[in-house]
């Protein structure tokens, strides 16, 4: 059963207390949109939830695998998009079909053989989302998933998120833009 919970979490970065006593619990099928001005700690919150950053206080409970879409694409520039994505899919124990389906779901179907270095900003963002979709992970952590996306891609992202929630997944997203899907909001 997929679940993500933060209990009394505090984050201390660069000599500043970004937030403290923050608690949230996401049960299967639940999503949460974190909003707030630049620099309030949205990305830090996601990194804490992902286990990449240790909270200054409190604890994080994760039941299920994690998929993270962040600013850094983590795709090898000189490989084709499909090869770069399938490297991660194999680590996640997924086959090439899962990659192809994910690419189609986010509008990258025609770009499989294009080298990653030639992709535009929006296409890169789509590629990181394709990796999340292909991962089969229960917990999706999305950092500004809509940045750089056109209207069509935003619709495809909303559909993918709705499908994930309907399938019992959990989503924690941080975004300045509306994601086109009804989710609880948390203002940092």
């Amino acid at each position: 059963m997929t679940r993500l919970a933060l209990e009394q979490v505090a984050c201390f970065r660069g000599g500043r207390l970004l937030f403290e006593d923050l608690g949230l619990a996401l049960e299967p099928g639940e999503g949460l949109l974190v909003t707030g001005a630049n620099g309030v700690g949205k990305t830090s919150l996601l990194r804490i939830a992902a286990g990449l950053l240790a909270p200054a206080a409190g604890r994080v409970v994760r039941d299920g695998a994690i998929a993270l879409s962040a600013e850094a694409a983590a795709l090898d520039e000189d490989r084709s998009l499909f090869a770069a994505l399938s490297f991660w899919a194999r680590l996640d124990g997924r086959d090439d079909e899962a990659v192809a389906l994910a690419m189609a779901a986010i509008g990258l179907a025609g770009l499989a053989e294009v080298p990653v270095r030639l992709l535009s900003t929006g296409q890169r963002r789509r590629a990181t989302l394709a990796r999340v979709i292909a991962s089969g992970a229960g917990i999706w952590l999305l950092d500004e998933p809509a940045s750089g996306l056109d209207a069509g891609a935003l619709g495809e992202l909303s559909a993918a998120m709705a499908g994930h929630l309907a399938g019992g997944g959990v989503i924690l997203a941080a975004s300045h833009q509306p994601l086109g899907i009804a989710m609880r909001e948390l203002a940092l």
């Binding site: 286990g51 993270l68 694409a73 983590a74 795709l75 090898d76 520039e77």
Partner: protein, 211 residues
């Protein structure tokens, strides 16, 4: 184990895709070519100092790829993505160590054959050099990886990497370039120590770099 092999294959492909893997090899051969010009055409002298010269060249050649070992993967987010998949930092470092050695160790050993001819080394010296490189280059790779991880959060570390790594490589150089079976055993022991320690040093550095 499967993910370990996938990581090794990815790093190895990366090293050769950029053409960067050929740089240490070319550098090494270039030094072997330049050395006789500097020393002069005294065949006996060249044969005598050639082995040590090639060891120094190998050491300096091993510095070249170090800057690209870890930092690009941290900047591109690859390390984060590996970490959230539950890959241990030590495991990632060990895979990088294997891939790094494969990308320059065997090539240097291969290049030693023409390099030995350029320096007029006899067969016994060449054999001794090849065995020494086989034992010593894993230690050089381990040092390179540890230093790469330790300096990964800094910019423009080319010179710094040399300053940190070269003093630590002195034992490898001494035991690699001196004759006798005893020196080879000490070379193997030093190399083993570096190879065994590097994944833990690099792993701790990667972890510390994330916070």
């Amino acid at each position: 184990m499967n993910s370990f092999l996938a990581l090794v294959r990815r790093d190895l492909g990366h090293a050769f895709a950029h053409g960067g893997a050929w740089l240490p090899l070319i550098f090494y051969l270039l030094v072997a070519t330049l050395f006789p010009f500097a020393i002069g055409p005294d065949a006996a002298l060249l044969g005598k100092v050639g082995g040590g010269a090639l060891w120094t060249a190998a050491l300096l050649a091993a510095l070249l790829p170090v800057e690209r070992l870890v930092r690009p993967d941290i900047l591109s987010g690859v390390m984060d993505q590996l970490a959230i998949r539950g890959q241990s930092d030590e495991g990632i470092a060990a895979a990088k160590l294997v891939a790094h050695w494969l990308s320059f160790g065997p090539l240097l050993m291969l290049a030693t054959v023409p390099a030995a001819a350029l320096l007029n080394l006899d067969g016994a010296t060449l054999m001794r050099l090849e065995i020494g490189l086989l034992l010593g280059t894993p230690g050089l790779a381990a040092l390179g990886l540890a230093v790469a991880a330790l300096t990964a959060s800094l910019r423009g570390t080319g010179a710094l990497i040399g300053l940190i790594m070269l003093p630590l490589a002195v034992p490898l150089l001494i035991f690699g370039a001196s004759p006798g079976a005893g020196a080879l055993k000490l070379l193997a022991a030093t190399s083993l120590l570096f190879v065994a320690g590097a994944p833990f040093v690099a792993g701790a550095a990667l972890r510390a770099g994330r916070s």
